[in-house]
């Protein structure tokens, strides 16, 4: 009898332990599982919550990338990932001498400066990349890390917001580990956390790789709101975490609180429009995409959702024309606004006007590319 009960209890324990382990590990992306001593050490540290040390251990485990030749690594990104800063710098500078307009080596130089703790120099390199491509996700995320290291939480959060609205996590192998390391350094185990709202954004990014960070991001966002640390940005993170859990009403309420704190928060309006779409309310969706546009009329990013609702869905070319005219008044060099004005003009039968703005948009794009 006792043996039978013991076996049954053992079976229950195995099943429960397996379910708990699966629950924890299944949320993590394959980035965290590396077949090396350093990788296993990194995983152990990560599971203990020592993110800074975990990030350093993981990066230490990327030495195999050293063997890649220059022809396959002209930007020096692989050499940098492997920790060979001198080699990475040599490769990046060689490539820049050959093709001065290329962006990737410039980004490598920015990362090298970050690794050396020269944050102002890093930002200088990254600014050059962003001047050519303002929505470069890698450059924005690296800028956010540099700003975070400098203690400039506001600029770091702005860079994070701009990067994450593109819907990608970036392409450089070191990015996630840099963010993880910064999150660990800002909130070391057993010590009080600094920059709560920035931490919420860091964990918002890390959630892409491990869903468990969603809860942490939400917790930091709640603490930031309580502490009055950039409440609009904190409500934005809280709303996004609600959205990821499928709680769309709660997400919408959080975004509404964000814009109540900062009525010019275009990204919060855009997220509110996403929730309005999920809640199947076209009027609210329109109000929110329009508010996002009016909060940032010179930002081409908010023109696409506006055009989707107003022109493609509602078929209201006339209102679209009026709004695009306003966008061009604010920034006459906004090629995206000229393109959309051309499409709206075509929809109402103004062919000449459409052709004129299409041409203007093409000229502006050509000028930006430098051709």
């Amino acid at each position: 009898m006792r043996r039978r009960l013991s076996v049954l209890l053992l079976a229950i324990a195995i099943m429960a332990l397996w379910a708990v382990a699966y629950q924890r590990l299944s949320t993590m992306s394959s980035t965290f599982f590396r077949a090396s001593g350093a990788g296993l050490r990194g995983l152990a540290l990560y599971l203990q919550g020592d993110w800074a040390e975990a990030a350093r251990a993981y990066r230490g485990g990327l030495q195999a990338w050293r063997r890649i030749e220059y022809v396959d690594d002209p930007s020096g990104a692989f050499a940098l990932t492997a920790g060979d800063l001198a080699g990475a710098e040599r490769r990046a500078r060689t490539t820049l001498r050959l093709v001065p307009s290329t962006l990737e080596p410039r980004m490598t130089l920015g990362e090298i400066a970050l690794d050396r703790g020269e944050y102002a120099a890093a930002l200088g390199h990254l600014r050059e990349v962003l001047a050519r491509n303002p929505d470069d996700v890698d450059a924005l995320l690296l800028s956010a890390v540099a700003r975070g290291r400098q203690g400039d939480a506001g600029e770091a959060i702005a860079a994070f917001d701009r990067a994450l609205r593109q819907g990608t996590a970036g392409s450089r192998a070191t990015l996630m580990f840099r963010v993880l390391e910064l999150a660990g350094d800002l909130a070391p185990p057993g010590r009080p956390a600094r920059a709560l709202c920035l931490l919420a954004h860091l964990h918002r990014y890390l959630r892409i790789f491990d869903e468990a960070h969603g809860e942490i991001a939400a917790a930091y966002a709640a603490q930031a709101i309580a502490a009055g640390d950039r409440p609009a940005d904190a409500h934005l993170v809280l709303g996004i975490m609600h959205d990821k859990r499928g709680h769309h009403r709660e997400a919408l309420a959080a975004f509404e609180r964000a814009v109540a704190h900062n009525p010019r928060h275009a990204e919060a309006y855009r997220w509110a429009s996403v929730e309005a779409r999920r809640l199947q309310d076209p009027m609210l969706q329109y109000r929110m995409v329009r508010a996002a546009f009016e909060a940032a009329p010179a930002d081409p990013f908010y023109l696409d959702p506006l055009e989707h609702v107003l022109l493609r869905w509602f078929g209201d070319a006339r209102t679209m024309l009026v709004l695009m005219e306003r966008a061009i008044d604010v920034d006459p060099r906004n090629a995206a606004a000229h393109e959309r004005l051309a499409r709206a003009a075509l929809a109402v039968g103004e062919r000449e006007r459409a052709a004129e703005h299409s041409k203007r948009a093409a000229d502006l794009r050509r000028q930006r590319r430098g051709t």
Partner: protein
């Protein structure tokens, strides 16, 4: 020996009846979700049937544990706990190979039984195994409780009588649930009445998300819009309704599609978003939203609401006086449906 006879000999009649009751309760659960009735009491009844489904599974477990093994199973029954432990360990091992089995199942095989078996084992990935293990651990905990109770209190006749009474009570409740499900099925399935649309707005939402992706149990309190009527509670059916606990919110206009019912008990077929009301709200703010107005006119045409269609067509023409071809096409549509007066009026607007 027939299949049922063989099963009865192996498992025992009491266990077979309990298994049958699980099937019948699941049938009732589906009937309640398909042929819903409005009302708060129905929400409670639907929740009760969910609870009864769990009870039915526990009844099977209870009868299995307390059954006297058949002669064929007796040598194995003594080692059931060991087999169970080995099964758990084997399932964990198999789950690691599930991608291999999935890949094998995706390649064409001459034997469909082997292919099906490979697909089943392949589906036993870690995600599926988590659900199996959570249910398994809960069931085993119940078994442990039963074993302890039987060994400690089982020799008291009062306790045994109480156990038998609970067992019969559970069976009676499950049979009643099946009867209710059957009645709802007849009320809905044999009902040939035309659908009636009730335009309502959501007042409140409630419910719970079931764990492990098993869906949700939710309801909406709705109130008639025109004329404003009483508030009623309706269980949401995720497969049929356009709204769910996560995609609906208070003040949202929705349409409830109802039928009179074969027994005269009105039942809810589906809840849809009131796209017409949403379009009206958009057009109040943006009268130049031609695409939205045309979609609304198409909906009015499908619903044969000719007067409203004509009014919307006139509104469209006021905003877009050059869109004559569209108005003429509408006039032809009206003529084809015998609405000569409305058709003539629209034609006169573009061909005075």
């Amino acid at each position: 020996m027939t299949l049922s006879g063989g099963l009865r000999r192996i498992l025992g009649l009491r266990v077979l009846v309990a298994v049958l009751l699980v099937g019948l309760t699941e049938y009732s659960r589906r009937a309640l979700a398909t042929y819903r009735l409005p009302g708060e009491w129905f929400t409670l009844a639907a929740a009760a049937v969910l609870a009864l489904l769990v009870l039915a599974v526990l009844l099977v477990v209870e009868r299995l544990v307390l059954a006297t093994p058949s002669r064929g199973l007796r040598p194995l029954a003594g080692h059931a706990d060991t087999y169970l432990l080995l099964l758990v360990i084997n399932l964990i091992i198999v789950s690691f190979f599930s991608p291999v089995f999935q890949a094998a199942a995706d390649t064409p095989l001459p034997n469909p039984v082997v292919q099906r078996a490979l697909a089943t084992v392949g589906a036993l990935s870690a995600a599926a195994l988590r659900l199996v293990f959570v249910v398994g651990a809960a069931t085993l905990a119940f078994v442990v409780l039963l074993v302890i109770l039987e060994r400690t209190l089982g020799h008291f006749s009062l306790f045994r009588a109480g156990g038998r009474l609970l067992d019969r009570l559970a069976v009676a409740l499950l049979v009643m649930a099946f009867g209710a499900g059957l009645a709802l099925t007849y009320n809905g399935m044999l009902d040939a009445s035309a659908p009636v649309q009730r335009r309502v707005e959501i007042v409140a939402l409630g419910g719970i998300e079931l764990p492990f992706g098993l869906g949700e149990f939710s309801w909406a309190d709705v109130r008639d819009r025109q004329p404003p009527g009483r508030t009623e509670r309706i269980v949401l059916s995720p497969g049929r309704d356009e709204i769910s606990l996560s995609t609906a919110r208070p003040e949202q206009p929705v349409v409830i599609n109802m039928h009179a019912g074969w027994f005269g008990v009105p039942w809810v077929h589906a809840i849809t978003v009131d796209h017409g009301e949403h379009a009206k709200r958009v057009l109040t703010t943006l009268p130049t939203a031609a695409g939205m107005r045309k979609a609304m006119i198409s909906a009015l045409s499908r619903e044969r609401r000719w007067r409203e269609l004509r009014a919307e067509a006139e509104a469209h023409l006021r905003e877009y006086p050059h869109d004559r071809e569209y108005i003429l096409a509408l006039a032809r549509d009206l003529q084809a449906h015998g609405q000569t007066a409305d058709s003539t009026a629209l034609t006169r607007l573009v061909r005075p």
